[in-house]
Symmetry: D2
């Protein structure tokens, strides 16, 4: 046709496919296989399950929040036997609990341990490396599957080093794209499991995907336009440097928490070692409804905050600080919240934005000091400065 088309059977497209599949490896920190589905993140959850498990298989899951609960519902629907560890939605996965569950599983019936790395509904980040450690200590053969939908490319993550078997991710958070692509990073062990897995599958089947990917193609129509966007996003991440990207998210998260503290409000996440760097959920004072606050802020400032999901409905609001986000956007966001609190009549102290600015300024100052000390201008100065 005379029109510019994106022909997904062309040589040009094959080059694009190879390029993005390769580029994603840096992001997942893996030298293994990655597949891309034209689907939102929920599809990649399903792919992780149906490719590795069989009907009736037992899996160990943790109620860290709304999305962990939804993943469990999916597992049940697909006919898996879910051992679901209850939680208070304010903590991540407790590796001691994992350890005891695995050691109790003398007959090695648990086929997979499934963790949501960063719970979008709560702003709690589970420590995956710790989970791996106890699995190793228990010498348990279960697969480790991790959902990084709201953490990949925002919070440091190591598919290979942490011994993850299937990592699940999506396009619409740290990769700064619209929803519509989702991913599985796959270990050799997961690939081996796939050979005997008997859950039925076709769209999500890794085998034809991996076969076609070898030449940069896809077994059915891929999300062509988003793949071009993905190439651009990978380029942006590489430009900034992954370490700097993580440091930026850490800095914004800490500034946000300082604002919350100054407002005399409470961060939902109770364990500082589990604070999320991509979003912060804030508890409303009792007898105030978070959704009313959110409506005031939307109406007055045209800014949409995340709502409390499921059992947190009305009880928290969520401040996102991930993706293509900078210091001044964060300042604008926190300003909208601070003014909204006043306008909605929510009891709070002023000074949240000021506290956040103090932190951001200090990070920059530390970085400046480093530079003059070292006389070496490395790209990750700011990163280092604020992590110490």
């Amino acid at each position: 046709m005379a029109r510019p088309t994106i022909d997904h059977r062309s040589a040009e497209f094959s080059r694009l496919g190879l390029e993005v599949l390769d580029g994603l490896k840096e992001v997942f920190k893996t030298s293994g296989s990655i597949v891309i589905f034209p689907a939102s993140g929920t599809g990649a959850w399903e792919a992780a399950l149906v490719n590795t498990l069989s009907p009736g298989d037992k899996v160990l899951m943790f109620e860290t929040g709304h999305f962990a609960t939804l993943w469990r519902e999916m597992a049940v629907k697909l006919g898996l036997d879910v051992q679901f560890v209850e939680g208070d939605w304010r903590h991540g996965v407790d590796s001691k609990v994992v350890e005891s569950a695995l050691s109790e599983d003398a007959r090695r019936q648990i086929k997979a341990v499934m963790v949501v790395h960063n719970e979008t509904s709560t702003g709690v980040t589970s420590r995956v490396a710790n989970v791996r450690k106890v699995m190793d200590r228990a010498k348990h053969p279960a697969l480790l599957m991790v959902d990084t939908i709201s953490s990949l490319a925002s919070i440091d993550y190591h598919h290979d080093e942490w011994g993850v078997d299937v990592t699940v991710a999506g396009s619409q958070k740290g990769l700064m794209l619209p929803p519509g692509l989702s991913f599985n990073a796959i270990s050799e062990k997961a690939l081996a499991s796939a050979k005997s897995a008997r859950l039925s599958k076709s769209y999500w089947d890794w085998q034809p995907m991996l076969a076609a990917n070898r030449t940069g193609f896809f077994p059915y129509t891929p999300g062509t336009n988003l793949l071009y966007g993905l190439r651009e996003a990978l380029h942006m991440l590489r430009e900034e440097g992954m370490d700097n990207v993580f440091a930026r998210h850490d800095r914004h998260a800490e500034a946000t928490r300082r604002a919350v503290q100054a407002w005399q409000l409470e961060v939902l996440c109770l364990n500082p070692q589990e604070y999320s760097s991509s979003l912060t959920a804030v508890l409303m004072p009792t007898s105030h409804n978070a959704d009313e606050l959110r409506k005031v802020i939307l109406d007055q400032f045209n800014m949409s905050l995340g709502s409390g999901l499921a059992k947190l409905q009305g009880k928290v609001f969520r401040i996102g600080h991930l993706g293509d986000f900078n210091d001044l956007m964060l300042a604008g966001t926190l300003s909208g919240v601070e003014m909204g609190l006043a306008l909605a009549g929510v009891p709070h102290a002023k000074g949240g934005v000021a506290a956040a600015l103090d932190h951001l300024t200090q990070c920059r100052q530390q970085s400046q000091r480093y530079r003059s000390l070292m006389r070496t201008v490395s790209r990750s100065d700011v990163a280092q400065a604020c992590r110490d």
Copy 2:
């Protein structure tokens, strides 16, 4: 966040959801339910199967081309028992064959009849109404499922009137969007079947989708940006008028066939009643390879023609004339083919473009005559003129 975001839990998004779900009904010509998956068309194939069928169910399918063959492979993978009627890839579904297969099925084991309306690999359009007719005549209770991925919004289609139970469609052809959305239109009968269907499903499950859709929402992250595009596409189709859209495709297809005839080449589709209006597959003279021709045309004119798929590889090239396409774009396309045939040394007669222009001109002239006769300027003049 301070950035413009598309919040898929907002009231604004709910209005969008309701609007597109409603607007799609005009396109499928149904008053029943439609669901939208963030997935490419292959996903909607799977959704049709897993929501209505159980492991081991027998289905009747037809080898009309490459995509029908892929759909059959999917059905086999998902554990269905496929009765596959072989074909020559140059004809559509033969309703006589359907009739005899159904009447032989005395124990009513066939649970579904599955038809690809328009075969993208061959340019053959099966007559769905005829299939319905023989199913009715046979009083067979099987569901009728139809793939309209490359026909919806290009070729006239009637989900309700033709008694289709599940229609499968995608965003990237007649709806003029990138790939990434796919659809099921669902009859009451199919919804009833869904209650007892035992193929496993989660992402593709109609029930939570239909439940959330009632308020314009989705059970998991939808393809937000494409849904905005869909609203625009539906608006464009309504502006032009569906009848005019169909007439335009008919006109372009006929002009293309006249060009092919003038070139003394052969249209792959053997039955004029089954000519596709959205694309035309053209047979290469024996001892010439279609892919070499395609390469010449791509190199010289930066125009990408469709390739022969699977057993047609190298034997045909395909000219698409669907979506947001006008007379002069068609003329440019056919000019590229005609010059390409000469440059690639493919034996042919000149005059294809000229023959196409003659047809397009005649359509316009007939339409002008109609107008002056009738003194009524109706939007579908051109449509009518060229169909008579």
Copy 3:
């Protein structure tokens, strides 16, 4: 051509021309003529002069800042005899000075009084209505010409009511477009002067422009793409309501000044009645260079502040708050300045952003009170609330 083109001789383009010429009248608040040049604002300065004056004509101009000085240079270049009233760049035009100059001009040699409404280099807004008043009182026949390049559609302006003869404006500030269009609004009296004006002109000549404009056309190639953008901009202004646009700029300017005060820095403009609502120039503490601060802010936060121009170089920085700008963008901007002051080691007090947020919040609260008192939700609530 087969490509989509903007044909500036088509009927469609003529409709666009008439629509924008008409829509601009609301913005200038005039029922008279407006012309559009494909040129930046400097061109519209020249047009104002060459259409109304003759070589050697005397004009009265005021040194309110850098742009007033540039306009004077142009007048001198074009052969006019400029009486230039010196100024300190911290005040607007003093109407008493105008009055005495005009009363001294017994022989009525002054042909035009030329005022820059809002000095982009200083953030000082001259009170045009007062100038008109003293011209009337002096019964002086001089034309009144006003540059509104950085005020139109941001700060209230009345071409007709204030008896302005030529208003000069551009596309790139309040109209939210790229530079490339500039405007003259023209009184009947100015049109009359044009008949005898002898400065040479061709491109800037009003006559062929006004003649062609009657049918929506232009005497030479217009800035086609920007005219489409202008239609959109006029639509946005109408949507928000001009009074609300002005109130928004007033609110942002006051919030900015409160930040400056809290920082214990000084606003360049000395007269509160002349504070600009579209930008604020801030004096640096002596012995600190504004350009070093600007560099720090650009490097650290990728935000570009306006520099001190000409004799203010290094002595001020300028904060713009005009055009398509909202409360949270202002908060982000002021946050960047506050952090920048700290990082650059500029002596200042903290709390500027907090003071700005207080003001913005109070404006919203007053507006909420109005609403519940009045039970009438008028679009200009916020406007009214914050002006009282």
Copy 4:
């Protein structure tokens, strides 16, 4: 401001300025000075005159068409004494006439010879090199000024080699941008003339422009967005190679003329050595109105052809084939004309498109032969092939 802005006083902008000013030299083929005005092409006409001439100066101009006539009107308005050589709008500048005019000018009163290189209204290209030759032979000191608004970057042009003193150009044709930028390329001799030129000027004054340009800046607000576009356009031209760009235009122009001949219509331009490669004006058969044909084509095919201007109104239509245009777009364009001729009832023979396709095909074939002969794949193969 927190928003992405294009700050035309920033270091980044200065780099852009230097880059485009430098890149333009390749396009004008000059090592001398070039200035860029934020204005449409008519402004660059004015700049050429006011910078080099004084009131009452005599200039020699030629009635080659509508735009040459407009330029003369401008010269008269600005107070120049124009010696206007009448023409029939079907020929370019006759260098014999130039020669005799100059030799008659014993007192060297003619200060400039002004030529429109490519007349957009007629499709006639004057041979500037020949004009230069006779000027040299006459040893006449007049400046040579050339309008290349519709030829630059489409038709081969040599500012330095042809000894042009001021070349006038615009953004909206061969440079593939919207209107809004215009250019003067300036010889040393023209710069010298500028010192004594007494026509009044300010916006168009070369001196402050050249002074600011030295560091990549501009003396007043430039057309920022278009300058970014210009960088991209220069990049595209360099990618394709200027010789290939010219060859493409030559090929499309010849193909168009073959179509016109096949239709048994007449090209307006009478001298084959003066055929324009950027557009072709076609004479309508007497008693048929070109504007009626244009209306039919616009209504039926949404394609806008150029109209006959001034004394050619209704008598010609103009087919543009310049800028970012390829073989298939040309085929689509000519198809629209051929069908339009039939629909509008204009007497003509069929076969125009076919004749054009024959020519385009032959060019490609010759190029293929060259390649296999030479075994050297040079980028200008097609160019060479079709020029021989």
